[in-house]
Every structure is written in structure tokens, then in C-alpha cells.
Symmetry: C2
DNA sequence: TTTTTAACTTGCAATTTGAAAGTAATATCA
DNA sequence: TGATATTACTTTCAAATTGCAAGTTAAAAA
């Protein structure tokens, strides 16, 4: 590949990533679906950060369009949708954990890292589901 | 520590982190100061993403207030300021690299990862400076 | 002394967010 | 069966943030 075509092609991978999830809400929704195994609209709404329903709706739709999560109808209740993480979504786990590790070591409020325990179980089931 | 006080204290470390750098511009500025060793206002302005000067000004000030970067006067040119990464700022390197790695492996445009080479040199000098 | 440069700051339109209320399609209860 | 509740949105609108262009101030260079 020539130097020129490489220069044209290459955009910063950090910038590329941030275009997809470089805002607060997207990563929090991904946290909930990956680390906490949430699957329903109301579950995402109930997290501590209190995301507004219009923003949540928008982010779930985008994450679905971009392939980070799968959106299905609940066969046993037609009002509900089931959100689940895909392989692509799971590939963001290292990013999330790195951010969590940084936050935990700099917060001073986080104490005994309550998410550490919670995490391992939920991640395991997220992985099991995504790879099925 | 009681269960109650722990529950009151513990906020999600991911949420904590995102409150500090959960937007596109903050991490791009940190990328430039950590991975590309930029030190001047004009250098940050010249990156591909073309950050507006008011936003850049705001982000540099915040990063300074939060201790991620140090801001000094240039002794040899009183018009200029010198921005440099601190130890605290450097502690975000793993987060940045994880995001970069994800972007590189999912972009399809990034080609031969031109930042890999560039990175190692700049990171080394960032580290050297921050720890001095 | 005039021109340039560096780092902002300001003004303003456009976009995004956030809070609250509304809606449509079910599902559940009496 | 009819009334009520639930779920996942959508809408409305004010407030905050962003993005662009132009202006400002102090200091350096010509």
C-alpha cells in the first residue's frame, strides 16, 4: 500500500471508536447489558443514572443498528422487547473494564468495588448468551 | 463499614469515569497530549478532528482543574502556555489504548495502524516528562 | 512601528439533552 | 367483559451544549 493511500485511509482508531460510543449514555447502556445482564427497557431506566426515556430509546435503537445489541420481540409478552448483547457488543468488555478499573482506583468513594462480584456472574451469562 | 453506608457511598466506577471523560473531545485532547506529545493550543487545534477553539479552551481548562494535565507559562514566550500530561493523566493510557485497539480492529479503514509506531515514542516522552 | 502570532473570548444559530406528559398496544384484574 | 395497569416508546418544550466565525489582548517579530 502506498504512503498516500494509507494516509487517506487511516483515521485515528480512537476517533473512530468515540464516534460510536464516545458519549456518556451509550457506554452506560452497554455496561448495563454486558455487566448487569439487563434485557428490558424498564431495567435500563431503573439504573442509578436515571436516563431519560427518549435518550434510552435512541441509544438502544442505535446500538441495535450498529450491531452492538440484538433486539427481539418477547414471545410471551408482545408489549416487550428483549435486548441482548451481541459478539460485537461483548468485544467492548475490555474497554468497559479498563474504564471501571480506572474509576475504581481514582474515585475514593467506591470502597470495596461492589461491581466486581456482580460483574463476573453477569458477564458469564452475557457471554454464554451472545455466543449461543 | 456497614452495608448501608457502603451502598450510599458506592456509585458505579464507570459512571464516575464517564463524568470526567465521557465525551468525545476530552479523550481526544488526552490522546493528543499522551500519545502525540502535543503541548501547544495550536497543536491541539490542528488535529484531524478540528476541535473548535472555545471547546478546546474549555477542555484544557477542565483537564487542568482535574489534574490530568499541567498548564504552565512558556518562559521563552509569554503568549504561549505549555500543556503537559501529569501522572494522573498518564493513568488513562490503558483506557486510551484499549479504545484504540478496539477501533483499530473494527474500523476496516485503519489499515496498518499508523499510530502504533508514533505512539511508542510519544508515550515514552510523555512518561519521562510526567514522572520528572 | 507595523504586522503577526498565540491563546483565548464572544456572539449566535443549530443541535442535543432532560424532564414531563402523552400514546398505542397489549396484558391483567375484578 | 370492561376497567385498569404496564411497556416501550414519542412528543413537547425549555435549557444546556456545540460549532462556526469573528473579535480581542498581550506579546513577539519584522
Amino acid at each position: 500500500m502506498s504512503t498516500l493511500s494509507r494516509r487517506e485511509k487511516s483515521k485515528c482508531p480512537i476517533s473512530y471508536s468515540l464516534d460510536l460510543f464516545g458519549d456518556k449514555w451509550t457506554l452506560l447502556v452497554l455496561r448495563d447489558v454486558i455487566l448487569h445482564g439487563k434485557t428490558r427497557f424498564a431495567e435500563f431506566q431503573s439504573s442509578d443514572e436515571k436516563i431519560a426515556s427518549n435518550i434510552l430509546s435512541d441509544r438502544l435503537r442505535r446500538l441495535g443498528e450498529q450491531g452492538f445489541i440484538a433486539i427481539e420481540k418477547d414471545p410471551s409478552d408482545a408489549r416487550q422487547k428483549i435486548y441482548s448483547v451481541t459478539k460485537k457488543g461483548l468485544s467492548l468488555t475490555p474497554v468497559l473494564l479498563e474504564i471501571a478499573a480506572w474509576g475504581a482506583s481514582h474515585d475514593g468513594q467506591t470502597g470495596e468495588l461492589p461491581h466486581t462480584v456482580e460483574r463476573s456472574d453477569s458477564v458469564c451469562s452475557s457471554i454464554t448468551n451472545a455466543l449461543r
